[in-house]
Amino acid sequence: MNIHEYQAKEILKSYGVRVQTGVVVDDASKAQEAAKKLNAETGTEWFVVKAQIHAGGRGKGKVQETGSNGVVLAKSLDEVPEKAKNILGGTLVTHQTGEEGKKVNKVLIAEDVYYPGASEPKEYYLSILLDRSKSCNVIMASTEGGMDIEDVAANTPEKIVKEWIDPAIGLQGFQARKIAFALGLEGNAFKEMVKFIFSLYKAYEGSDSSMFEINPVLKTSDDKILAVDAKVNIDDNALYRHKDIQELRDLSEEDPAEVEAGKSGLSYVKLDGNVGCMVNGAGLAMATMDIIKLSGGEPANFLDVGGGANAETVEAGFRIILKDPNVKAILINIFGGIVRCDRVANGVVEAYKKIGNIDIPIIVRLQGTNAEEGAKIIEESGLKVASAILLKDAAAKVKEVLS
């Protein structure tokens, strides 16, 4: 599960990680008050107004309606409301949102941490994530803070250092020191960074996260280390033991069709193609999308009905797919193991009749337990539904209806 920057910072703070302080508002009229509060708390005289959406690249991203960037600096209390107004309610397009962008419902008014002082402020990169191939967590750090880490990895991989954490003993002091030295820190900033890394790792473990990306981590001009931004991804499988984090879920950030599908126990991802599909099992679902492409179409979605393909799930699946006006045909591909194909076929016929006027061709491929009986039910239903048993026949039928 993804959460917003301001929520991620709250989690970090609760584990003693120093963060850029801020106040979140959902209305520009509350922005100045928030800034005043922040000024009283931190003494900051400049304020950073940051759009809260589940996507990166906000600083360079543009709000379609006003032309404002997604992260802007206000150099006085009076500037804050106007700057917030130019972002709130707008549609922010960044390189991660796609061209349709994302609606901004909240902005974070944050303190300015790049104030001048004894030394130059400097940005770093830190992330913690699971290394699947080593079955343990890895901390990645780089001196190239504020940059897109994929670019750093591609162009200057030597500027990324990694420390793998032994699951049996956890993060050790020498590892945190190695990272802090590799970042070129010394004196108080070095000590602060070691502390920062320890608190950050504790927060990662404690919140059952699957990824932390702190970009940038800032060394301030007075040698403090703090998180200016925070991208946190929580392991969905562990949410049951974090009721407080569950409440941070922001449904407005998710595709409404995907949320609706989830309620029916379906796993759905909308795509841009013209052939919808409904499949049991994620691997077979992806394979079915590949078949659609090889047959000359483009998949309109990923849809896994899971283990229980019955009349209700098939109907829910139909309704979700049919909402997409681009869909010119639907391929249902069920490999019946525990699920019997004749029951799935009955489910398809029932759902089809219930929905009524489906005017696009439907191809139903049923294989496995009672496949022949299933095909017979489809053929004798009198509906405009083609049936197939072999996967290659299904592919041929998709080709046929598209030509």
């Binding site: 079955s135 991802v269 691997g283 077979l284």
Partner: protein, 291 residues
């Protein structure tokens, strides 16, 4: 010798008396798998499906000689169940449970690391050696006996591959569903290696998905061994959108081997018979064997 499970395997079911455990244990017994009992803490001494129930895996090992365990325990307790089985001396643990927290699996995998045990899964359909033992949730009738081994991350796609192999006039020696979770016990390469060393397997179907580097690792290993047996490979997700699951940092750790296209290219370069369409698995295998 077959791989991982055979007619001599003494199988126990952890989470025996729950609804999933009951249903699939029944199916396994009906298939002919030698299920010697099950474990449900607190229900030891009872009988379920005409088999003894034990309080602990240790009791099942001591009293029934169990050496293979299949786990249907709910996600919150599944990692603990894996560690209990390993501690009791079980040799093959098959974890079907879906949705185990990653942190728990990191701990469990670390715990079993130095023990004489093979973990398959979690979030997998299990392992089947046709006509000998079905230790999983797959439809047994699809897997007719033969000499083709199958390794797959995905459940229904495993059934699809088996069905095509059977329809091509071949059959299955052992099919291993390794599971699709971020942390799994047996990698693609390890499963392929078991089948390469199996004298009842002539060729292998290797099915992967986007994400991770297991397939590339397996392909390079196969090549390093001089491609001793033909391998037909398929990667699901050629049309899947990028970066849906993991963020930026994940893409770096995954490396450039992550996409379907990249994996298929590596597999081809390593001498595997790569199919673009999942409908061609059976026919391609037939050709690879010169039949």
């Amino acid at each position: 010798m077959s791989v991982l499970v055979n007619k001599n395997s003494k199988v126990i079911v952890q989470g025996f008396t729950g609804s999933e455990g009951t249903f699939h244990a029944g199916q396994m017994i009906e298939y002919g798998t030698n299920v010697v009992g099950g474990v449900t803490p607190g229900k030891g001494g009872q009988t379920h499906l005409d088999k003894p129930v034990f309080n602990t895996v240790q009791d099942a090992v001591d009293q029934a000689g169990a050496d293979v365990s299949i786990i249907f325990v709910p996600p919150a307790f599944a990692a603990d169940a894996i560690m209990e089985a390993a501690d009791a001396g079980i040799k093959v643990i098959i974890a079907v449970t879906e949705g185990i927290p990653t942190k728990d699996m990191v701990t469990a995998k670390e715990y079993i690391k130095d023990k004489d045990v093979v973990l398959v899964g979690p979030n997998c359909p299990g392992v089947i050696t046709p006509e000998e033992a079905k230790v999983g949730i797959m439809p047994g009738f699809v897997f007719k006996k033969g000499r083709i081994g199958i390794v797959s991350k995905s459940g229904t796609l495993t059934y699809e591959a088996a069905d095509q192999v059977v329809k091509a006039g071949l059959g299955v020696s052992t099919a291993i569903g390794i599971g699709g979770d971020p942390i799994i016990g047996t990698s693609t390469k390890q499963a392929v290696q078991l089948l390469m060393e199996d004298d009842e397997t002539d060729a292998i179907v290797m099915i992967g998905e986007i994400g991770g580097n297991y397939e590339a690792e397996a392909a390079r290993w196969i090549q390093s061994q001089g491609n001793p047996k033909p391998v037909v490979g398929f990667i699901a997700g050629q049309t899947a959108p990028k970066g849906k699951r993991m963020g930026h940092a994940g893409a770096i750790i995954g490396g450039a081997d992550d996409t379907a296209a990249a994996k298929m290219k590596i597999m081809e370069e390593c001498g595997l018979h790569v199919v673009a369409s999942p409908a061609d698995i059976g026919e391609t295998m037939k050709k690879a064997l010169g039949k």
